[in-house]
Amino acid sequence: MGRIVIGVKDVSVIPREQAKELLKKLRLKPWQLPWIRASDPLVKYAGARPGDILKIVEEFPTAEEVVCYRLVVPG
């Protein structure tokens, strides 16, 4: 596992329990999150499997740290 993509600061799998809470807070079903394919290098880097929710922290020039959540899907 080498470097991650430029701009992405951190990727991690959210533990099941925390993921449930997050989805409850956002009032979402898992599939309503943005998706990311299991074949994506980011997913491999984080060691995530389909059904997991990734927390991706990116760096932007306008907003220092931007968090986004992605659902890992097969493929």
């Binding site: 979402l28 999150l33 943005p34 306008t62 907003a63 931007v66 968090v67 959540y69």
Partner: protein, 887 residues
């Protein structure tokens, strides 16, 4: 029973989901009230033929007649479908591709999908799993299954060896035999094959057999829509004109009859085939008359007939023309013209329009006297009223009320009066193309004489409006809620900071800037009379300031007038456009820095940098950001008026003497131009003799072009430097360029010194004749003159050759803009279509159409740009300044 009454008796149900499928022949027959059996339309008496396409059993669409099925008149009969039984089946063009896909993936012998049983089992399980959790991913799997099945040549179920299929758009299918010959497959064969495919196998391909059996895409029964869908119109001459669909249906029936006859009389196969093909053609163009590779079906006049697809497609189609966009009431459109005396919040509305566009006002005990007065004045006198609506909902048209006084007496709380637009009403104002939020803003009505809409010059930039004939639209909101929204969200003063980049899109421009500069100038003194005039123009309600000079006459400075309108607690420091030597604002004895302390402009001249629109860190941006929209608007309204009135008093005009340069200046410019051209020719010599070395990544010629462009642009730069040095500092041209009111030093250089290099598509001019740009040059001349370098200037005139190059470059610019607007317009349409369902929810998340989440926090930082300092939440510089000045 009217339609309005019947609505209440219709049972209401909420739509949970919609599913699209194909009409089965059973459903077509079940929905139909009759079969169309004859191609005759009207008999000799002009009456509909029974069993024909205009049969009264299908329903009636014109007043007077009664439907023979339901007995209702035209306004309540819903219309009833019929059907045509086709002698031979034809393909539904819209599903030809689907038919091809299914045929390729299935066995022509046994109808099974071309997959082994274990594969089928595996895919079924995967589909079941995906349907539960990843419904959208199931679509991809169907595609994968189809591809896999299509690749197999031998059927795993019956061992049949499948021939390759070929599909030729729009509706021809062929099979390739062992010999390589193509055999045409007729729709009957296709239908037999499709009917064989079992339902479970269709499910693997993503088709629900309950609502869409593929053989239903081969039409045997064609539904005939009722006349409501294809009404005939009676022309003034009494001639009846039928709808395009009716014409098309008649064609289909005729061809069907011919085909039937041919089959019954035992005509040769090729005759039957060609008639069948014609029937297919008519049915296909009935659905879509713009099929590629199919001749367009035409009306007798040569006009192309409108198929069903043409009714829906495109700008004028049902979706874009009738559903997403339609014409509306309570709106007006006319030419716009400027009015610097109204507020930026206002819009001038002509009396003629104010008397037609109305606002419904509910009668209460507080406005009853006012509304009675309006009703009495009636529809023809402004301000009046056009309609009165009783509590029972009856609309009374005041044009036909004889005794309006009596009606006004009957007015009581609960009635509604549709009164004329009056001063103070809020309306929406819009100019196309509506590219961003501020293309439509709320304005306060001011009814004025004249026939144009009047708007303040400062609101031109958001609309991108000018007054060379531009027209704009006005909409009067019809509910209290809509009016409240327009006032609190859309009003111009609330849009000063644009959501595009957090800067003020509204601000001083052109005349205002030069007026403000002149007023703020150190040498400007104002008499008592003038002061009264200016403060009056600014609508000041406060006492005038003490004079700056008491003896021998009382005089005020221009800065005092400006200060008079500034917010009392405003403190601000910024450099002006004239900043040169002063580095410290507080140790500068010239007007190079603006210093405002507690609303007092103590130093500095106003210019575009301080009061113009879109300026970062400017005085105006501070006023717009740190005070309420209302305060900012009032400052702009009154100060701009003052600047303009002062400019009136002062006078300002640009003439030839504003562009005067002394002899030495021209000598210097001549030297610069001459040496530049000399250098260009030296370079040309180097290039010709092969001494020029290529720069990295470029050819020798590209290197030459780069270098020559560099040399010639340097000529203009150096000339600009000379012009700036010699041009009188108080000349109008210089002041306009320097303050940012209009134009730049480059424009002045082009007028007085050199026009410079002309370009086409960003390159020196090189096209024209075979070996040269114009016949006036020697062959292969690529020197500065032949390449479009203009040595002349506007003040002294251009040579004919220079003039030609200048015109060519000008035309290139025009073409470029035209192409760009067309391209960006189309891109805008597609973007807006894709993004229109995105919204920021109340929890700060960005969601799509109420289902998908796009961003957990709007923009990643949760900043509303239109409430920000150029995208930042706060401007740190402002805080530091506050600490420095100590307020």
């Amino acid at each position: 029973m009217s339609l309005a009454e019947s609505v209440e008796t219709v049972p209401l149900k909420a739509i949970k989901s919609a599913k699209f499928g194909l009409l089965s022949p059973e459903i077509v027959r079940k929905y139909a009230i009759m079969e169309i059996t004859t191609s005759e339309v009207y008999d000799e008496g002009g009456l509909p033929v029974r069993g024909g396409i205009t049969d009264r059993r299908l329903g009636v669409a014109e007043p007077g007649a009664r439907c023979e099925t339901c007995g209702h008149a035209y306004d309540t009969c819903p219309g009833h479908f019929g059907y045509i039984e086709l002698v031979k089946p034809v393909i539904h063009v819209g599903f030809a591709r689907m038919i091809y896909d299914i045929l390729r993936a299935t066995c022509p012998n046994c109808g099974r999908i071309m997959l082994r049983n274990d594969e089928i089992k595996r895919y079924r399980e995967r589909l079941a799993r995906l349907r539960q959790r990843w419904r959208l991913l199931a679509l991809n799997l169907h595609e994968k299954i189809r591809k896999k099945a299509s690749e197999r040549a031998v059927c795993p179920h019956c061992g049949h060896k499948k021939n390759k299929m070929k599909f030729e758009r729009p509706y021809y299918f062929y099979e390739e035999t062992e010999g390589g010959a193509l055999v045409k497959l007729d729709p009957e064969t296709l239908r037999e094959r499709l009917a064989k495919v079992p339902g479970e196998d269709l499910e693997l391909l993503g088709i629900d057999p309950a609502v869409a059996r593929p053989e239903w895409a081969i039409l045997r029964l064609l539904p005939v829509p009722p006349p409501h869908v294809r009404p005939s119109i009676q022309l003034e001459s009494g001639v009846r004109s039928e709808d395009d669909l009716t014409h098309k249906l008649v064609d289909i029936i005729r061809m069907n009859e011919k085909l039937k006859m041919a089959i019954e009389t035992g005509a040769p196969t090729n005759v039957i085939e060609s008639l069948w093909d014609l029937l297919q053609y008519h049915v296909a163009t009935y659905f879509d008359n713009e099929l590629p590779g199919v001749p367009v079906a035409k009306h007798r006049s040569g006009r192309p007939l409108k198929g069903l697809a043409q009714r829906l497609k495109g700008k004028e189609g049902r979706f874009r023309g009738s559903l997403s966009g339609k014409r509306v009431n309570f709106s007006a459109r006319t030419v716009i013209s400027p009015d610097p005396n109204i507020s930026i919040n206002e819009v001038g509305v002509p009396y003629e329009i104010a008397k037609i566009v109305t606002v419904p006002e509910r009668v209460t005990e507080w406005n009853i006297d006012f509304l009675r007065e309006l009703v009495i004045r009636g529809p023809d006198v402004w301000p009046g009223a056009n309609y009165v609506i009783t509590p029972e909902g009856r609309r009374i048209d005041l044009r036909y009320v004889k005794d309006r006084k009596a009606l006004a007496e009957r007015l009581a709380p609960g009635w509604v009066v549709e009164r004329h637009l009056i001063d103070g009403d809020v309306v929406l104002f819009n100019r196309q193309p509506s590219l961003h939020r501020v293309s439509m803003m709320g304005h306060i009505v001011k009814v004025l004489p004249g026939r144009t809409f009047r708007l303040h010059l400062s609101v031109c930039p958001p609309y991108n409006a000018d007054f060379d004939g531009d027209e704009m639209n006005l909409h009067a909101p019809q509910t209290e809620e809509a009016r409240a929204e327009a006032r609190t969200l859309m009003l111009v003063e609330k849009q000063i900071i644009t959501p595009r980049y957090g800067g003020s899109i509204i601000g001083a421009r052109q005349d205002y800037i030069i007026g403000a500069y002149l007023l703020s100038h150190k040498s400007t003194f104002i008499t008592k009379r003038e002061l009264a005039y200016l403060l009056g123009a600014g609508m000041s309600a406060e006492d005038p300031p003490e004079p700056a000079i008491l003896h021998p006459v009382e005089l005020w400075t221009g800065k005092q007038v400006i200060s008079h309108f500034l917010p009392r607690d405003l403190t601000w420091v910024q450099p002006t456009a004239f900043k040169s030597k002063c580095q410290d604002a507080f140790r500068c004895d010239r007007d190079e820095w603006i210093i405002v302390i507690n609303g007092e402009l103590v130093k500095g001249v106003l210019d575009k940098k301080s009061i113009g629109a879109e300026q970062i860190g400017s005085l105006w941006h501070r006023i717009a950001r740190d005070y309420s929209p209302e305060v900012a608007r009032r400052w702009l309204d009154s100060s701009l008026r003052v600047f303009l009135r002062f400019l009136d008093l002062h006078g300002f005009s640009l003439g030839m003497d504003s562009l005067h340069l002394p002899r030495e200046a021209y000598e210097e410019i001549d030297r610069i131009v001459k040496s530049g051209i000399e250098k260009a020719y030296e370079l040309l010599n180097d290039y010709r003799s092969g001494r020029l070395e290529a720069m990295p990544g470029l050819t020798v010629h590209e290197t030459f072009e780069n270098r020559i462009a560099e040399i010639l642009s340097k000529v203009r730069e150096e000339a600009a430097y000379v012009v700036e040095r010699y041009l009188a500092k108080n000349s109008e041209g210089y002041l306009m360029a320097k303050t940012g009111a209009r134009g730049s030093i480059i424009n002045i250089v082009q007028m007085v010194a050199v026009l410079g290099q002309q370009t086409i598509r960003g390159e020196r001019i090189r096209r024209g004749f075979r070996t040269r740009t114009l016949p006036h040059f020697p062959a292969d001349d690529i020197g500065p003159h032949a390449g479009g370098f203009v040595q002349g200037a506007f003040k002294f005139g251009l040579s004919p050759i220079e003039y030609f190059f200048h015109a060519a470059a000008g035309r290139d610019g025009l073409i470029d803009t035209a192409v760009r607007t067309a391209q960006s317009g189309y891109m805008q349409r597609r973007l807006i279509n894709a993004l229109q369902d995105i919204y920021v929810a109340y929890d700060g998340t960005v969601r799509f159409g109420g289902t998908l989440l796009l961003q957990p926090l709007y923009g990643g930082d949760g900043v509303d740009v239109s409430r920000s300092d150029h995208g930042k939440i706060i401007d740190m510089g402002v805080l530091r300044l506050a600490a420095r000045v100590g307020t």
